[in-house]
């Protein structure tokens, strides 16, 4: 899946991979790629400004802490971030259900009979 297809969903994906706990930048990128089964061609340079923006908007907070003996900037969800993730999930489910209902031929045929 090309990077352009990811645009608009990056924020929600970043929030989702941080749900289990704090991660540093590269671990976040790896987590997104692993969760997508390697299908996402994420341009990694777009992730850092997005993390910065999410922190500025209060959805994430960050602090420098040692990871493998090296100080790393680790991000975690705030309460607002958890609420934002829940909203993004329900919006996405509603969207996929609506578009799916239109695209799904079998469902359309079932409704017609």
């Amino acid at each position: 899946m090309k990077a352009d297809a990811v645009r608009g969903h990056l924020d929600a994906m970043l929030l989702a991979v941080l749900e289990p706990g704090p991660l540093h930048g590269y671990a976040i990128i790896t987590a997104v790629q692993q969760r997508s089964g390697g299908a996402l061609e994420l341009r990694t340079g777009t992730v850092y400004p997005a993390l910065n923006r999410l922190e500025r908007s209060g959805l994430l907070r960050s602090r420098w802490q040692p990871v493998s003996d090296r100080p790393r900037r680790c991000y975690e969800l705030t309460e607002a971030g958890r609420r934002g993730l829940a909203d993004a999930r329900s919006t996405w489910q509603e969207f996929t259900a609506t578009i799916g209902a239109v695209l799904d031929l079998t469902a359309t045929a079932r409704r017609a009979t």
Partner: protein, 220 residues
Amino acid sequence: MSAGPHVDPVEDYLATLTASLHGPVRAKAAMMREVRDGLVDAVEAQTCFGVPYAQAAHRAVRDFGPADEIAPSFQRELTIAQTRRTARAAAVTVPVLALCLFLVRAGDPEWRLGALAAHLTVVATAAGLLAVTALVVTGPLTRLLPTPHRLPSAVAWTATAAAVGMAVAAVALGVTSALSADWPLTACAGVLAIAAHGVVAASARDCRECARAGRSPRAR
């Protein structure tokens, strides 16, 4: 990016990206440190499986994205950081200017420069209101509203106007203190106005530079 035979692709990339960004020193340093960590991690993730360093470094840089395509989103964040910094400087110092002018005017209702003080107070009030608005829009409201693209320029030029106002106020207060019997109050106010001018003018200059960098063709 100039990739010579002995140039480390990661260091070359970092140098190119660093040179193209403008913003508050600490924010930029933290951003670049994080980018460096990410690239080093990406290289290590491959070299630990036996991929040669040069090949791993080239791949890490390629996956990160071309510096001229990636830089605008970094610059946008740095420009907003500088805008917030300038807005904070204006929000703290502008009320000082307004208070100085108010005190001098209250102490001498017949002050000849009263009309000038009134105009400067209007400039100070406008700058203060815009500064507070910028802090709210680029902070808690980011989730609800997109940050207007012209906000950094608006803050930069309003802070510049406020800095000019502070310089004019400092001169006016200096002249008044030289002619007034109650000179200690006006002299103190003048010194405060000069100090506030120094802080706001420097921050406004940096903000103008960031706003320009954000508007350059490669930053769009």
